[in-house]
């Protein structure tokens, strides 16, 4: 038994609303409860509006478009000039950030020079961080650097202000489009001519 007591619960991918029951607790075993889910007696209910997803360690959580960021352990975040990792996050204390990964190496963390910083919703930041196809399509024709933070802040750098504006615009727009639409938008932007 153990953590995998709730295997592929049928509620995954379902849109839920506050007050709606998601799953009932099984007789034995443990269930990990993530953000947006609360225990009420023998069942788990949603306390946010969004889509039910399974997170790391088989936890159930509700994903939604949120502007506010809630610190989680091991999230990579972008501050004003620094790309760092959340080391300690407790509800009543300020989160502790670090610029080294768990092995003590730099691994791409540290101050970011140049480029531009903008904000997106936390769910879109997660999508961007997972390496969507439109970024790969863009990378084939254009050189750019991208740092995505779980706190919704995205840093982009590219040679030339026109290219920089283009990458930033496409990264933002992709939130409203699905995967195929985003790739199509990239192709269209590149075809319309960029030095």
């Amino acid at each position: 038994m153990g953590v995998a007591a709730v295997e592929q619960p049928p509620c995954l991918g379902k849109c839920v609303v506050p007050g709606e029951p998601i799953a009932s607790l099984p007789e034995t075993g443990t269930v990990r409860v993530g953000g947006g889910v609360q225990q009420a007696g023998r069942s788990l209910i949603a306390v946010k509006a969004g889509v039910v997803q399974q997170g790391p360690g088989d936890s159930l959580w509700v994903c939604n478009r949120q502007k506010r960021y809630i610190p989680n352990l091991n999230d990579a975040v972008v501050g004003d000039v620094v790309f760092c990792r959340v080391e300690e996050a407790a509800r009543d204390l300020d989160p502790v950030l670090t610029c080294m990964d768990t092995a003590g190496k730099a691994a791409g963390f540290g101050p970011l020079k140049g480029g531009t910083l903008f904000q997106v919703s936390t769910s879109h930041a997660r999508t961007l961080a997972s390496g969507p196809p439109f970024l790969a399509a863009l990378g084939r024709s254009l050189k750019f650097e991208l740092a995505v933070g779980a706190n919704g802040r995205v840093w982009v750098d590219a040679p030339g202000p026109a290219n920089l504006a283009l990458v930033a615009r496409l990264a933002r727009q992709a939130e409203e489009l699905d995967a195929a639409g985003a790739v199509a938008a990239v192709k269209e932007a590149l075809a319309s001519g960029l030095r």
């Binding site: 849109c15 839920v16 609303v17 506050p18 007050g19 709606e20 029951p21 947006g36 609360q38 209910i45 306390v47 946010k48 509006a49 969004g50 889509v51 939604n64 478009r65 949120q66 502007k67 506010r68 509800r91 009543d92 409203e176 489009l177 699905d178 195929a180 639409g181 199509a184 938008a185």
Partner: protein, 262 residues
């Protein structure tokens, strides 16, 4: 110089003397029918969450800001606090309102806070304050009910953790007949009225405000009527939130003539 021409009316339309004629309401609704409901989320882009609700002619817009740091003079608190502010636009009522907050607005704000505080999980944002700003654009009757529904929608849009959605309905008793979702004219002629706010999933009443004289049976009937309406309004709120949460704009599909195919 005063206007002495008595043929110029002070109000464009007089209030109707009878709101129930032959047992029928002026707008043709049943006694237990509420008006058309229109809901929209994400109306105000700068707010954490927002909503716009129309209940018949009553129009309400709500913006939720925060949770943000509370003022320094407030003592440390393990729980967050909810700061509700209801304003009526000066053009919302029959007679031009005053720009400063009136007694009615203060009362509506307090009633809104009572209705919502049972649902909001305040312990998820300690030391912070959540601002719920409501603007009533047109007060066409059942204002508090519309404000509560709009505020719930805005809180859910802002991803504030809620135990359940709070919906509300109001009932007026006119000439002994109980009318659900009264218009402003019906409220003006009422003998007694009540507003009920309810959490349907948890089956809990969060607030009940009543005025006038109610007998035990009348009160029970009115509360049941309002609870039934709350369940329907709750279903509409849920639909709107699910639609909002699952919305994804696909690129339009064009056929060979470049016309959009739905």
């Amino acid at each position: 110089m005063a206007f002495t021409n008595s043929s110029v009316p002070f109000f464009r339309h007089d209030r109707p003397a009878e709101v129930i004629a032959d047992g029928k309401r002026l707008d043709g609704r049943d006694n237990e029918e509420f008006r058309t409901l229109f809901l929209n989320c994400g109306t105000i882009s700068q707010a954490s969450g927002s909503s716009y609700v129309e209940l018949g002619s009553t129009k309400v817009m709500v913006g939720v800001y925060g949770p943000r740091q509370s003022d320094r003079w407030m003592k440390y608190s393990e729980q967050g606090s909810l700061d509700c502010d209801v304003r009526l636009a000066t053009f919302a009522t029959r007679q031009r309102g005053r720009p400063i907050q009136t007694q009615l607005e203060k009362e509506l704000s307090a009633q809104l806070e009572t209705a919502l505080s049972a649902s909001v999980l305040l312990h998820t944002f300690p030391k912070a304050v959540l601002d719920v700003q409501c603007l009533v654009l047109e007060a066409g009757g059942s204002v508090l009910a519309a404000v509560i529904a709009a505020a719930t929608l805005a809180l859910a849009d802002a991803s504030i953790e809620l135990r359940d959605l709070v919906s509300a309905a109001s009932v007026s008793r006119v000439q002994g007949i109980q009318l659900l979702d009264p218009t402003a004219e019906e409220e003006y002629r009422e003998e007694a009225g009540l507003v009920l706010s309810f959490m349907p999933c948890l089956n809990q009443i969060t607030s009940l405000t009543s005025h006038g004289v109610w007998s035990k049976d009348e009160l029970r009937d009115a509360v049941e009527l309002a609870m039934g309406a709350c369940e329907e309004i709750d279903a509409a709120l849920r639909d709107q939130l699910v639609q909002n949460a699952s919305q994804r704009r696909d690129p339009p599909v064009l056929d060979e003539d470049d016309n959009e195919n739905a």
